[in-house]
């Protein structure tokens, strides 16, 4: 290598690439601006995510707490008989209870006037809790029993910070400022405290007369039955369809037609599947309304394209040498696919299925049309009733709560969203782990 062609003593040019002038400075500025635009778009998107997560967490977490009052209470045998003989049984129970509670509070030397109305506003209707307890535990009559009574929803919200003192007028039917003073004193005395709200996880929906007691348990079960239907139907059908399309289908008009249909179905709005479910399963086939079975059928049709697309991808990822080897030792084409290709593609198929199921779990719109938004305040009695009896699903229950006016239900809706997202997150984590654990690079 010589430097013959390069004159050694060439003067260094006055303008190198590194030096700038007005023109190049403008270009570099444009470059910086453009880059800043990119960063700010990215940051905006992530800020939206942050805002969403924050509003879910801050609004939803209170749903998992509730305020209770623990009260010692003695009901004598005579009082029990008197209450059971009365016309309004729970009313008599709650009269006994409030009397005793008023005496307890007065014994604490609190300078606030306490009457039955105060207790009723603080605790709501307690009669049915007492009656249920004593009817099943008659041996505890005459003994002191500690009841943990959930406070009325407005007191609950006051301690969660979503109800401020200022907005309360002096003749409010539900709560008064003096009630809150009393509650504060009782809280200092240790009678009122906050606990974890198991009722929200295990309970069923409830109406406006006990808004604090509404729980998501029954709709979780409804979603579970629905997902069972989706899994049992969509996995085999999806896998069978993908095997046909990927391994056997000849290139003809039928195959093309199926492919076009699948790719279009994947983009059809979910509400159209709801219309399909309403017209075909309910209007035409007379299947029961609001049933997880019907919901599952609709969601199956909706998830199938997703599952077929991901299954085909994982079948395609199995190298042809596997098939060739199986065919070479005398397997039929069917045997090669079912004995060799399918087991190797299984982890990918399961990952795709779980992701499809997660999508189906969060879907709401089709469920509204097949009537899964009704008020369902009980668990199904039998497994069969779980499939065909009326029930709700987690997202439909959230929608139902969101459209009610009482502010306590907004908190429930956010809490429900936390539950829903926890389910989705765990499903996605399982999918990711499956992929990590079994992923094979050929």
């Amino acid at each position: 290598m010589t430097n013959n062609g390069m004159p050694q003593d060439l003067p260094i040019p006055a303008r190198s690439l590194k030096s700038t002038n007005a023109h190049s400075r403008r270009r570099l500025r444009a470059e910086k601006c453009f880059r800043a635009l990119g960063v700010s778009a990215m940051v905006t998107a992530l800020l939206f995510l942050l805002l969403l997560v924050m509003s879910i967490v801050s609004n939803g977490l209170p749903a998992f707490k509730r305020t209770i009052m623990s009260v010692d209470f003695v009901l004598s045998q005579e009082q029990f008989e008197e209450a059971e003989a009365a016309l309004l049984k729970t009313g008599v129970y709650s009269d006994f209870f409030t009397q005793s509670l008023v005496e307890t509070i007065q014994a604490l030397d609190i300078p606030i006037e306490v009457d039955q109305g105060t207790i009723n506003r603080l605790l709501g209707k307690v009669g049915s809790i007492l009656r249920e307890h004593y009817r099943s535990n008659t041996d505890q009559l005459g003994q002191a029993v500690t009841f943990e009574i959930p406070m009325a929803s407005r007191v609950d919200r006051y301690y969660k910070g979503t109800l401020s003192r200022e907005g309360i007028s002096s003749n409010n039917r539900f709560i008064r400022a003096s009630d809150l003073d009393l509650a504060d004193t009782l809280r200092e005395a240790g009678l009122i405290r906050q606990t974890f709200n198991w009722q929200f996880l295990t309970g069923v929906d409830s109406s406006v007369d006990n808004p604090g007691g509404a729980g998501i348990g029954a709709s979780v079960l409804g979603s579970f039955f629905m997902m069972l239907v989706v899994l049992v139907l969509s996995l085999p059908i999806g896998v069978a369809a993908s095997i046909y399309l990927e391994e056997f289908a000849a290139k003809n008009w039928l195959t093309d037609f199926i492919e076009v249909n699948i790719s279009n179905l994947a983009a059809v709005p979910s509400i159209v599947f709801g219309i399909l479910g309403l017209a075909v399963f309910i209007q035409f086939m007379h299947l029961p309304q609001s049933a997880p079975l019907v919901g599952g059928l609709v969601l199956t049709l909706m998830t199938l394209p997703t599952i077929i697309i991901s299954t085909r991808a994982s079948l395609k990822a199995v190298p042809p040498s596997i098939r060739d080897a199986a065919l070479a030792v005398g397997a039929s084409k069917m045997q090669a696919v079912f004995h060799h290709v399918l087991p190797l593609a299984m982890p990918g198929i399961l990952t795709g299925t779980i992701i499809g199921l997660a999508q189906a779990l969060g879907e709401t719109a089709p469920l509204l049309l097949i009537g899964m938004v009704g008020f369902v305040a009980r668990y199904p009695d039998t497994i069969l009733a779980g499939f065909e009896g009326p029930n709700s699903a987690i997202p439909a229950q959230i929608f139902n709560w969101a459209s009610r006016s009482d502010a306590i239900f907004a908190e429930k809706a956010w809490g429900g969203i936390i539950i829903l997202l926890l389910f989705l997150m765990s499903m996605n984590i399982v999918a990711v782990l499956l992929r990590r654990r079994f992923e094979r690079r050929w």
Partner: protein, 490 residues
């Protein structure tokens, strides 16, 4: 015998057949597996196919035909007495069905001859109370005709299911016998089983066609019915949406234009939010970001895509709506009168679409060949000049396709607009007004009890058809553009 028992019987027979077929084939080869044409399990499989397939097909067909035929009988007997229109008889049929369910529950009422029900007015009233105590509410007062019809209905159903059980079992046993009879060592059992599996696979693949057909049929039939009650021209070109649920139709105004306007307005705002943010994020992620930033930011963006729409709906209703109210509401500049507005729904829908736009554009930008970039750098262009003048023009068709797909998503989105956009159908230019969309109205017209005969309910199917055709056209166009673009560079 309930259907579950029938199915169990069938599966029991199938298991028996599997064993019988296998043993018989082995016996014909004197226990020498090598002398068989196929593996022994294939002989069993053949018998299973013969046992299950014909009988199961018959069962399904019977179940489908059964209820229309029985109802036909019952309706004819009802009509001879009342001579009412089609509509009334379908309502009556619903009562008969509910009634029959009630008769099943209350023991002893099922049998005509036993007759514990008193046919006097008072007796009927008592019985209706008894029914409603068991959770069965009839649409109208109980009449002796309906009662007899329900009893006929039950009787016919019983007869039908008796014959169904018998015939299905007999067919299944015949199939089993035929299958077992054919099992011998020279029989090509594997070919039969594989053909059976193949048919199953094809059937599974055809479900996609069936689903599309189901969607089309359920939309078309109900839409035609709607257009018989309501003039199509008033639907497509009506500027007023005011359904009335009080009277029996006639005075409802069901024009689709305000709904379409609301849909397009919300989608437009959503795209105005999603396209710039999504596109610039994609450009940043694919061209500028270091590997570490990409590995961290891309999955986070995709989290947005995995969040169910009900969450976005609630976010619009309870967070974004009140937030916008504080910024633009009566207390500040007074543009907004309520949290539910086009801008609320559009903004939140835009957030939802960001990952959709960004991941599609990311794919498309990455598909632009590296040689184009390097050529541009070689000519001295800066990175942003390369992106603006080389990459984006090259990727433009694909990006347009992605935007069209996003638009189709936005038009079909339901939960966000149901919770965030409001319920009033109006034609307005103010984005802070509440408006409503096609999807939101489908939900509100179809939720709740409906008998599928009034135009106010049937209009939902016409709206559904409009929505389906709109999104289908957008999807087909977008897929066509994207595919052509991909082929261009592959």
């Amino acid at each position: 015998m309930p259907i579950s028992w029938l199915l169990l019987t069938l599966f029991g027979l199938a298991a028996l057949g599997f064993w019988l077929g296998q043993t018989r084939a082995l016996k014909s080869a004197n226990g020498d597996r090598k002398a068989l044409h196929s593996l022994p399990s294939y002989y069993g499989g053949t018998v299973v196919i013969w046992t299950i397939l014909p009988s199961l097909t018959l069962l399904i067909a019977w179940l489908f035909i059964q209820s229309p035929v029985i109802e036909g009988f019952v309706v004819r007997s009802l009509q001879s007495e009342t001579a009412d229109g089609d509509h009334a008889s379908s309502l009556m049929m619903a009562d008969v069905r509910r009634m029959a369910a009630g008769l099943e529950i209350i023991s002893g009422a099922k049998d005509l001859e036993q007759n514990i029900i008193n046919y006097s007015d008072e007796g009927l009233k008592n019985f209706q109370d008894q029914l409603s105590a068991n959770g069965i509410a009839l649409g109208s007062d109980l009449t002796p005709e309906i009662l007899t019809a329900a009893q006929t209905y039950l009787k016919l159903s019983d007869t039908s299911s008796f014959w169904m059980n018998l015939v299905v079992c007999v067919v299944s046993i015949l199939g089993l016998a035929f299958g077992v009879f054919r099992s011998n060592k020279d029989f090509r059992a594997r070919n039969v089983v594989e053909r059976g599996i193949m048919m199953t696979l094809i059937c599974a693949a055809s479900i996609a066609i069936l689903t599309t057909a189901g969607i089309l049929l359920s939309l078309i039939f109900n839409t035609i019915e709607f257009f018989q009650l309501y003039r199509p021209i008033d639907f497509f070109f009506g500027f007023e949406w005011a359904p009335s649920f009080s009277g029996r139709g006639g005075n409802s105004l069901l024009g689709v234009i305000p709904l379409l306007w609301g849909t397009f307005y919300v989608s437009l705002i959503a795209l105005l939010v999603a396209v710039p943010i999504g596109l610039f994020s994609a450009i940043y992620l694919s061209e500028y970001a270091s590997k570490r930033v990409r590995a961290f930011a891309k999955p986070l963006l995709e989290v947005l895509a995995g969040i169910p729409t009900i969450v976005y709906g609630l976010f619009a209703l309870l967070t974004v709506g009140p937030m916008l109210m504080r910024a633009f509401g009566d207390e500040t500049i007074g543009l907004m009168s309520g949290g539910n507005a086009v801008i609320t729904a559009g903004l939140v829908m835009g957030i939802m679409l960001i990952p959709f736009v960004s991941s599609l554009s990311d794919d498309i930008i990455n598909a632009v060949p590296q040689a184009l970039r390097e050529g541009s750098y070689g000519l001295g262009a800066t990175q942003s000049e390369t992106i603006r003048q080389v990459i984006l023009p090259a990727a433009l068709p694909g990006i347009v396709g992605a935007i069209l797909l996003a638009a189709s998503r936005a038009i079909g989105e339901t939960m966000i607009v149901v919770l965030g956009a409001g319920a009033a159908a109006r034609l307005s230019l103010n984005p802070f007004d509440a408006m409503t969309t096609v999807t939101a109205k489908i939900v509100s017209q179809l939720t709740g009890d409906s008998d599928f005969s009034s135009p106010e309910v049937l209009v939902a199917f016409a709206l559904g058809t409009t929505l389906f055709l709109l999104t289908l056209a957008l999807n087909v166009l977008a897929l066509y553009i994207v595919r052509r673009y991909r082929e261009h560079y592959e």
